[in-house]
């Protein structure tokens, strides 16, 4: 759908804004201009710090006290929101413009029942008079957003609801007065991938029915393919490209947009177009002209000096780059899929888990019943192999890693290393075994001691494991930094002087410097920006090859896992659902949960129709220990047998094993997800796409 002609609902023109920070003003928006037609969905995408959230809040007329508008206007149906008084804004907010917040857990008042929080929007804008009418209307809204027990859920407090339910409440609150415009500030960050998919599907459905306009802010480009009509790309506070969604993905003109699209990890092979982004945004080193010039592969000298403005490259497609005409369409980069390991598999695997069971008690209470985080997991990692553990939060994947590393004691079952049983707890293991298994954590901010210089951080394992000292020690530190492509001078720096990606490199260097045989990577990319993720992934692959490492790679992101793992194991609530080589795991037949994960994963322009699956993840039921762990949430559930009996292992060939009561042929038939990509023109309409090619 091309941009609608006629009066726009929202017109932002030349918006510039700065924050007064201590003494110096920090400008965050530079002449941002865009518009939204009635009923249109505009996506706003960019790295963290690009100013997209700031723009979104201007549509609500909201500025923190330290912000100053330097120029421009934000018009809603012709009225400039920046000039309105608080009382006038109060009339508009929640009424004609509504916000769906990033973090519903903190955006809902903790001491007020959710029903009341929705009702007060209705009363404030006179959509329902007093008495029971607001509560009844709130219940209707809860039903419309798919909350269970809509009449009774209003009496709950926010903390009693799951993340997905909280966000649905926020959506209900936003819809209460039938706004013309919805502003969504990264509404699905922090939610599980399947929940994320359900929320996005809900939004798409509501949008279709109610014809609301939306400004959808996100850093996840892939998500926008499902819901946005047009997409605006921002970089360093400037709008650099605006285009209809399909065209943006298929014919990106701005070098930054190209890099962004290329950095999205793909589940399907052979899809990457163009080179990934390199480098990082350094705010203090921006040239006066185009801010992207330092990182741009196509930049000329003049780019740094000339200010770029949005030009029309095609009807409805604007680009802020003086070289857009000269840029050739991006070339397809062959996907670097993991080659088959050439060594013949030796007889004893490097690491073997045998019916591993790990339980722990809920923190703080002596009386709570123990929870089995991991139950009956049997896995093996061969030398030189990378095994991925995939699952959502609560699946037990971190627990497995902690048990392997010796932080948690197995309650039952055995862990064997090189054929020999491994002592459960760290203190019973000899130094060699502690050295040979190394752990890299998710959050680089927490895994480095802020009071230690990088050099000392790297020195510790060398001192402890190799008794290194003096010049030898310094030499090894320098080599370790070089290994992760950090300059020698980094040894003198403190972690807070490094960016997130650099810190993660140091954390990886620290693990690799101990010369381990097995590397445990626990969601090591999840805390990083998309463009940085790609670089760290490449780093890991290179180190793995150079140092002959085996890896246990834990992630919830299937696309990342596809690139780096030889074999993939899928976990749900502590039990294995499927194990197999990464080539085959993503092909039918597959476990229903694997299928749900694939369907929920955003994958950019090749999105196909995805019917939302039943089974909203509710609060964790205590693990009954009987039957299939996925029963009750499974869209393909066979029947009562799933709740009663544990499912058997099915051999699907090629080393692929699936644990399900259904037969392989049934699993094959039901799978909707296909591995081959399909190019779709224009905007994606979930309701219109067809399921099978």
């Amino acid at each position: 759908m091309s941009a609608a002609l006629g009066p726009k609902l929202v017109e932002v023109s030349d918006l510039s804004l700065a924050y007064l920070h201590e003494d110096r003003p920090l400008q965050v928006l530079f002449g941002v201009t865009f518009s939204i037609a009635p009923g249109e969905v505009l996506g706003l995408v960019g790295e963290s710090g690009c100013g997209k959230s700031t723009v979104a809040y201007q549509l609500l007329g909201y500025r923190p006290p330290s912000a100053r508008v330097l120029s421009g206007s934000v018009r809603l149906s012709g009225v400039d929101l920046l000039t309105l008084s608080r009382a006038e804004l109060d009339r508009l907010r929640g009424n004609r413009i509504a916000l769906i917040p990033q973090n519903p857990a903190s955006a809902l008042s903790p001491g007020m029942r959710v029903g009341r929080q929705v009702a007060e929007v209705l009363t404030a804008h006179r959509r329902a008079s007093g008495g029971s009418a607001p509560k009844a209307r709130a219940a209707e809204l809860f039903e419309a957003v798919g909350l269970p027990e809509p009449r009774r859920i209003g009496r709950r407090y926010p903390h009693e609801l799951s993340g997905g339910q909280q966000q649905r409440v926020a959506i209900a609150m936003a819809l209460a007065c039938g706004p013309d415009l919805l502003v969504l500030d990264e509404p699905t960050t922090g939610l599980d991938v399947t929940t994320q998919q359900q929320i996005v599907a809900l939004l798409a459905e509501l949008r279709r029915r109610k014809r609301m306009a939306m400004l959808y802010v996100t850093h996840d480009l892939g998500l926008l393919a499902q819901i946005a009509d047009r997409v605006g790309v921002m970089y360093a506070g400037r709008m650099v490209e605006v285009a209809p969604t399909g065209i943006l993905f298929s014919q990106p003109r701005h070098p930054y947009t190209r890099g962004l699209i290329a950095s999205i990890p793909q589940i399907r092979p052979g899809e990457r177009l163009g080179k990934r982004l390199r480098g990082l945004l350094q705010r203090d080193e921006l040239p006066p002209g185009c801010p992207f010039q330092p990182r741009c592969d196509f930049a000329e000298a003049a780019c740094a000096a000339e200010l770029q403005v949005l030009e029309e490259a095609a009807p409805g497609h604007e680009v802020a780059c003086r070289r857009w005409r000269a840029l050739a369409p991006p070339a397809a980069v062959p996907a670097t899929l993991r080659a088959e390991p050439t060594e013949a598999a030796p007889l004893t695997p490097l690491l073997a888990l045998d019916s591993l069971v790990v339980t722990y008690r809920a923190a703080g209470s002596v009386f709570a019943k123990p929870v089995a985080a991991v139950r009956g997991v049997t896995l093996a990692i061969e030398r030189g192999e990378t095994l991925a553990l995939v699952g959502e939060s609560g699946s037990g994947k971190s627990t497995v890693a902690r048990a392997i590393s010796g932080l948690l004691r197995p309650s039952a079952g055995q862990i064997r290393f090189g054929g020999e049983p491994l002592a459960g707890l760290l203190r019973h293991r000899p130094r060699e075994l502690r050295r040979i298994i190394q752990y890299v954590f998710q959050n680089p901010d927490a895994s480095l001691n802020p009071r230690m210089r990088v050099g000392s951080i790297l020195a510790r394992p060398l001192e402890v494991f190799f008794d290194a000292a003096g010049a030898d020690l310094r030499g090894r530190i320098a080599r370790a930094l070089d290994d992760v492509r950090l300059d020698e001078s980094y040894a003198e720096r403190y972690p807070d002087q490094l960016s997130g990606g650099e810190r993660q490199r140091v954390a990886i260097a620290r693990a690799v410097v101990a010369k381990p045989a097995l590397l445990l990577c626990d969601e090591v990319l999840s805390a990083l920006d998309v463009s940085v993720q790609a670089n760290i992934l490449d780093l890991l692959k290179r180190l793995r090859a150079e140092h002959h490492l085996s890896m246990l790679f834990i992630s919830h992101d299937l696309a990342v896992v596809r690139e780096i793992a030889d074999r993939i194991a899928v976990l749900f609530r502590g039990e294995l659902c499927q194990v197999g080589p990464s080539r085959v795991v993503f092909q039918a037949p597959m476990h229903p949960y694997t299928h749900a994960l694939l369907m929920a994963a955003p994958s950019g322009p090749a999105a196909i129709a995805r019917p939302v699956e039943a089974g909203e993840p509710g609060p964790l039921r205590p693990a009954s220990g009987q039957g299939c762990p996925y029963a009750g949430r499974c869209a393909w559930q066979a029947g009562a047998i799933c709740e009663r009996e544990p499912p058997p292992w099915l051999e699907a060939g090629n080393g692929n094993r699936i644990r399900c009561h259904l037969s392989l042929s049934e699993l094959e038939a039901r799978a909707l997800w296909r591995a081959e990509p399909r190019q779709v023109e224009g905007a994606i309409r979930p309701a219109e796409g067809r399921a099978t090619p």
Binding site: L92, N95, N103, M112, E120, A362
Partner: protein, 316 residues
């Protein structure tokens, strides 16, 4: 966990703490000094007087027995007999506790507006001149010891402008008005000290609430400033306020000691000091234990209040 179990657990914990405190007090006063009798009587007591004292206080019994006997007595209401006056301690305590409770209540009533109003003003006018000015005043007052504030008040309202009595001696025969006049200066002193202590924390707390996500969300729903403040900000600010109030009650118990002494107000605090000066062992033990018990009870009430007010804490 259900509410009852949660609250019950807290109560048990408090009782445990009280038990440990009692043991601590007993240990400090009767075990640690070694020879208690000579400690009480002083350096120049004769051996005969010492022996008499030991017999009277059963000091020759093993420590455990004495402790349990004392503890049992305190628990059942038999607080023993004062050494110096030979009166039952309960009799001595009653009027004193009554006076102090009155004083504390009066001080508390004065303290609440003294603390809340500046904190609210400061939170709403954050980082503006009013905020800085109030912070400066608070800091200066905070730095003055309570006996200095008491003295200044005394000088102002007794010497310079003779409104109130210098000495607040009251007894059963005093009228309500005399009580009121006698209590005012000590109460104001206590109120000022508590208020300046609390204002800073209340201000920080209110600022945190005012800049929280949910207050911002409430504003962005289109609620007026008043509704946002009253329905979303203040209720959520209440819980930490309770905590601060409990801390103030704790101060109060220590603070009355000095303030009552300055104004010669016959309350619990001055009793404590007197008993220490007279080295009246049973009286000291009883008063210190009661002081600790009141503090523990105040904390317990604050905890329970927090649980009841904050639905999040009720979830296990």
């Amino acid at each position: 966990m259900t509410l009852i179990r949660l609250i019950g657990g807290r109560i048990l914990l408090s009782l445990l703490t009280l038990l440990i405190v009692s043991a601590l007090i007993f240990w400090i006063l009767e075990v640690l000094p070694g020879d208690v009798a000579s400690r009480i009587m002083g350096r120049d007591a004769t051996p005969e007087t010492l022996a008499l004292l030991r017999a009277k206080l059963h000091l020759n019994d093993p420590a455990i027995t004495r402790y349990l006997r004392w503890l049992g007595g305190m628990a059942t209401g038999d607080f023993g007999t004062a050494l110096t006056s030979s009166r039952p301690i309960v009799q001595i305590l009653e009027p004193r506790i009554f006076n102090t409770v009155l004083l504390a209540g009066y001080a508390f009533l004065l303290y609440l507006p003294m603390a809340l109003i500046p904190a609210l003003i400061q939170a709403v006018r954050r980082d503006r001149p009013t905020d800085h000015a109030l912070s400066a005043v608070t800091l200066v007052l905070l730095s003055m010891p309570d006996f200095l504030i008491a003295t200044l008040l005394l000088v102002t309202f007794v010497v310079t402008v003779p409104l109130l009595p210098a000495i607040s001696l009251v007894d059963q025969s005093s009228t309500a008005l005399e009580y009121f006049r006698a209590m005012t200066l000590p109460a104001v002193t206590l109120a000022v000290v508590m208020a300046v202590y609390a204002v800073r924390m209340l201000r920080d707390n209110l600022i945190e609430v005012l800049s929280s996500d949910y207050v911002r969300m409430a504003e962005l729903k289109g609620l007026s400033r008043r509704k946002v403040l009253l329905r979303h900000a203040l209720p959520n600010a209440l819980v930490p306020t309770l905590n601060i109030t409990a801390l103030n009650l704790a101060y109060l118990i220590g603070g009355v000691v000095v303030v009552e002494k300055v104004f010669s107000y016959p309350g619990f605090g001055s009793l404590l000091v007197d008993s220490l000066q007279l080295r009246d062992l049973p009286l000291i033990e009883a008063t210190v234990l009661i002081a600790a018990a009141v503090y523990i009870a105040a904390n317990l009430l604050a905890d329970i209040g927090a649980i009841l007010l904050n639905p999040r804490l009720r979830a296990s």
